[in-house]
């Protein structure tokens, strides 16, 4: 199928992009990597009047490794996130989560900012951004604001980004004593869509969990932290056994009042198993 006709503009500056967003009465779609937007256009699920292409906007891509923070431009390709040497040392979980997205000819185009704005429920990078406590920086003609990753997505495919705003960068704190890892289960081996994912942050000492951070993706409209599971892990041996942990993940990720896909109990169980495996793998690496 073909997309419905739209106007197209490709600004070369951020001010030009913000100017193009000032289109009263017209719906505007921002085109980043296009790996999610273009299918929505061609399937006519999204029918904008104007597409503003950010690919030519100067200054929106790049990775800056600072002493306390890592700044990643919104238009940085996932392949760059996956391969950047400084990032692999500073925040290896981001590189591994980026490498888990789809397949190489998607990652060569798709962007970090685009992934966060598309806000797919089971997506890798929104989950990791939440676990790491990232800040999403948005700019408009009105000014600049910064939104915690945990408050950026408001539902499946929706965010707090206002129609006149552009996400310019994502800022990650360096992780300090926590060590993070991301794992997921996908359809069709590694290249299909994720069923569920887990980002586990751990501070361990003498084989015991001192503090934990657990984010699950795919079990609801947005990735969520599971503070109950995090608290239950403290004091346990990383190596386990972890009786009841999968059930705890299911209970907390699908607790009454929350919403999610019809098969979310299955997805939450997958997330729980991924968590148990992540703990076992960590224990194995650290020689228990």
């Amino acid at each position: 199928m073909s997309a419905v006709a739209f106007d197209y503009t490709a600004p070369t500056t951020l001010d030009g992009a913000l100017g193009a967003l000032d289109a009263p009465g017209r719906t505007v779609a921002l085109l980043a990597g296009g790996q999610s937007l273009v299918p929505l256009l061609t399937s006519r699920q999204v029918r904008p009047d104007v597409v503003v292409d950010l690919n030519g906007v100067a200054g929106l891509a790049g990775i800056g490794i600072g002493a306390d923070r890592v700044r990643i431009g919104a238009m940085t390709r996932l392949r760059e996130v996956e391969r950047h040497r400084g990032l692999a040392a500073a925040l290896p979980v981001l590189a591994s989560a980026a490498a888990a997205v789809a397949h190489p000819h998607i990652r060569v185009r798709s962007t970090l900012g685009g992934s966060l704005c598309h806000a797919a429920p089971a997506a890798e990078l929104p989950a990791v951004a939440l676990a790491l406590g990232a800040q999403v920086v948005l700019r408009s003609a009105r000014g600049v604001r910064s939104v915690p990753a945990g408050r950026f997505a408001t539902g499946a495919g929706t965010t707090v980004r206002a129609p006149d705003e552009v996400v310019t960068e994502i800022v990650f704190p360096r992780t300090g004593p926590f060590t993070y890892e991301f794992s997921e289960l996908c359809t069709r081996g590694s290249t299909g869509y994720p069923v569920a994912g887990v980002c586990l942050g751990l501070r361990a000492d003498g084989g015991l969990v001192r503090a934990a951070r657990v984010v699950v993706a795919g079990c609801g409209p947005v990735p969520v932290r599971l503070p109950g599971v995090e608290a239950a892990l403290v004091g346990r041996a990383v190596a386990g056994p972890h009786p009841g942990l999968v059930a705890s993940v299911v209970a907390e990720a699908t607790r009454p009042g929350s919403t999610g896909p019809e098969d979310r109990e299955y997805r939450a169980e997958v997330a729980g198993v991924l968590l148990v495996r992540a703990l076992a793998a960590r224990a194995g690496r650290e020689g228990r």
Binding site: M1, S2, A3, V4, A5, F6, D7, Y8, A10, L31, G34, Q35, V38, P39, L41, T42, S43, V51, D53, N55, A102, H103, P104, H105, I106, V108, R109, S190, T191, G192
Partner: protein, 154 residues
């Protein structure tokens, strides 16, 4: 306002044609440029039948707008063999029976050509390419054969 001229260097030849803003690169190649070797399967980046090289990098041409390719270089399956017979990858697919209906073959060939000399292994090369006919056995053998010397696929 909804159409413009798009100039692309395709397989070494500069081609200038009108394209509507909402036309994908895959549609532009097939319709405006009459290069129908690039196939359109899923339209969502799952199947890999439409993979071309854009400035030397493999991309799904169904997920790039034609206007985004303006001024850039595209290599399609038609551009792989340089007039001197089939490429090593094409011969390998034939010899290992790595195709049946041929729908996935163009994207796969572009990807195999890009992978040549870069390594990445079977899994890396095949990621994002769906074949509904072969069960991948022949394709895997062809990838091994084309990555190594003749006979390595056996």
């Amino acid at each position: 306002m909804s159409a413009r001229t798009v100039t692309v260097r395709v397989n070494g030849v500069v081609r200038t044609e009108e394209s509507e803003h909402h036309t994908t690169l895959a549609e532009h190649l097939r319709t405006a440029l009459r290069l129908t070797g690039t196939h359109i399967g899923c339209g969502s980046g799952d199947c890999g039948a439409c993979v071309v090289l854009l400035d030397g990098e493999p991309v799904c041409s169904c997920l790039v707008l034609a206007v985004q390719a303006d001024g850039r270089e595209v290599t399609t399956v038609e551009g792989l063999a340089g007039g001197g017979g089939l490429t090593r990858e094409q011969r390998a697919l034939i010899e290992e029976h790595g195709l049946q209906c041929g729908f996935c073959t163009p994207g796969l060939l572009v990807r195999m050509a890009h992978a040549a000399g870069r390594g990445g292994g079977e899994e890396g090369v095949l990621a994002g390419h769906l074949c509904r006919c072969t069960g991948y056995v022949g394709i895997r053998a062809a990838v091994r054969r084309s990555a190594g010397d003749a006979g390595a696929g056996r």
